[in-house]
Amino acid sequence: MQLSRRLRVVLVGSSGCLLVVIYVPILLIVLYAFNPSKSQKWPITGLTLQWIQAALGNPGARSALVLSVQVGLIATAIALVLGSLLAAAVHRHRFFGRNVVSFLVILPVALPGIVTGIALNTTFRTLFGGLSLFTLVIGHATFCVVTVYNNVIARMRRTPGSLVEASADLGADPLQTFRFVTLPVIRSALIAGALLAFALSFDEIIVTTFTAGFNETLPIWIFANLSRPNQLPIVNAVALGVIIASAIPVYLAQRVASDAAGYG
């Protein structure tokens, strides 16, 4: 397909415009975090660090942040184990119900979050005796499995199976093969999957609302304070922190994944 010069310019130009539209709202939050006025009107009246200081010292936001990090770390650890096992099974073996398994792992993110949320809520309250930190972690781990699974299985598909066979032929036992061949090959995919799973858990609100009970994660704290006009300046400052906190793992995951793609 020969693209005329004009068409190329139109395509590149409209892509650029789209990126601007995507980034304007995010940059707007960054500006509002420094807005001295309590009113949320545009244009903002100046720049101040007052609300960022207030956010850093806010006990509710701080304990919510700590809880979010804890839940994210535990859920990511569970998702790492379950997602890699699943990827290994689906990639290396042909078995009855293989398609069902690959369908099952997407389901928690393909069905609307509110369905997952209300289903877990009903089950935990009627069968598990109520909501707790434990149910919150189970909910998060369930939808995080798919990010690890996707990253690991994509790497396995790109890796020739002959590597594992060669290792066995050279006399390595399965544990040695895993340690010296499989693990180095999938390591960066594991890191990328873990970073994305953490970012997913850190930001999640829909399933969280239904599984957290009285536990307040950072998104729940933000949501609760959105309806309190007095708190909005602090919410803006916290939002700036959340933007930065989620940008870092995503950027690192992309770096790790593309470095690995480079040598593979």
Binding site: M1, L3, S4, R8, L11, S14, S15, L18, L19, I22, Y23, P25, I26, L28, I29, Y32, Q40, W42, V81, L85, L86, H93, F95, S102, L104, P108, A110, L111, P112, G113, I114, V115, T116, I118, A119, L120, T122, T123, T126, A141, T142, N150, D173, P174, L196, A199, L200, I206, P219, I222, F223, V235, N236, A239, V242, I243, P249, V250, Y251, Q254
Partner: protein, 299 residues
């Protein structure tokens, strides 16, 4: 008699286990699958089953305000007989379709540039630029749009010199905000889809005399269609179940907000559960159609 010889005559435990696993691959598969499938079946499918069962329970809205676990179709009857629910389902599906179409149209140019025009370096820069907003907190994006669309917000300030005003909060705001939030979910699979289209096919089409538009319509579009459907799974499903964005920028009722209000505000779990089967049914049909279109390989 060296230790080395010993180890060849008497294999280590790992080797013996390995030999068994190599002979019976089924045990190996079962071992790998047990934990993850067990987790998903118990916690996820199990929960969906409980939810489905709860749709048949009874909620006493008059005296006790409690739930009794009996079996009846009363919740479904209530949903079907009240035209309000039909309107809400229609409105929600409509918005989901509009958001999906809008995102598909908006995503095409940039996905094409990412998948076909850009060199490897620019491609990875663009991938990061699209990924970052996808992972930016959902709530933060909603907060940003409240600042844009509110009375004294950015949009009205921009439109004031033209003597116009923005849509304010309402259904149009829901459409704008959801289109914005789910857009990256469409761009990424579509860009991957374009990347998989072999350049040689495009050249062949040109060589055979096809105009740009003809090549696009009869070669490119059929090849990226599965990717388009893969992206639409997310834009459609996420819109269908949303209750936070819709309640933050409008006071109109959608499927998600009705489910949430029934469960959280009223405490009528059975009715909420019955209503939750609607988006599940819609999505199951959608996913089956999507699998037919080959979208699962494009995810």
């Amino acid at each position: 008699m060296s230790a080395r010889q010993l180890s060849t005559t008497r294999p280590t435990l790992t080797r013996r286990v390995a030999r068994v696993l190599a002979r019976w691959p089924r045990i190996r598969v079962a071992g790998l699958l047990a934990a993850p499938v067990g987790w998903l079946v118990v916690f996820y499918l199990g929960s969906l089953a409980v939810l489905f069962a709860a749709a048949f329970w009874h909620y006493d809205a008059n005296i006790t305000f409690t739930i009794t676990k009996t079996f009846s179709f009363e919740n479904f009857v209530a949903l079907f007989s009240d035209p309000v629910y039909r309107t809400i389902v229609g409105r929600t599906v409509m918005i989901a379709v509009l958001v999906t179409i809008t995102d598909a149209v908006l995503a095409f140019p940039i996905a094409f540039v990412m998948g076909k025009l850009a060199g490897p370096k620019l491609r990875s820069v663009l991938a990061v630029l699209v990924l970052m907003p996808l992972w930016t907190s959902y709530l933060v994006k909603i907060l940003a749009w409240r600042l844009i669309l509110s009375d004294g917000g950015v949009l009205n300030w921009l439109l004031k010199p033209l003597h116009l005003s923005g849509p304010g909060f309402g259904e149009v705001a829901v459409y704008l905000v959801l289109s914005y939030i789910w857009l990256p979910y469409m761009i990424l699979p579509l860009a991957a889809g374009f990347e998989r289209v072999p350049t040689s096919l495009l050249e062949a089409s040109t060589d055979l005399g096809a105009k740009t538009w003809q090549t696009f319509r009869s070669v490119v579009l059929p090849l990226v269609f599965p990717a388009l459907v893969a992206g639409s799974i997310f834009t459609f499903s996420l819109t269908l179940g949303d209750y936070i964005a819709v309640s933050q920028v409008s006071s109109t009722q959608f499927i998600g907000s009705v489910i949430y209000d029934n469960l959280g505000v009223v405490g009528d779990l059975p009715l909420a559960a019955a209503f939750a089967t609607v988006p599940v049914l819609v999505m199951v049909v959608y996913l089956l159609l999507a699998r037919r279109a080959g979208a699962f390989e494009a995810l």
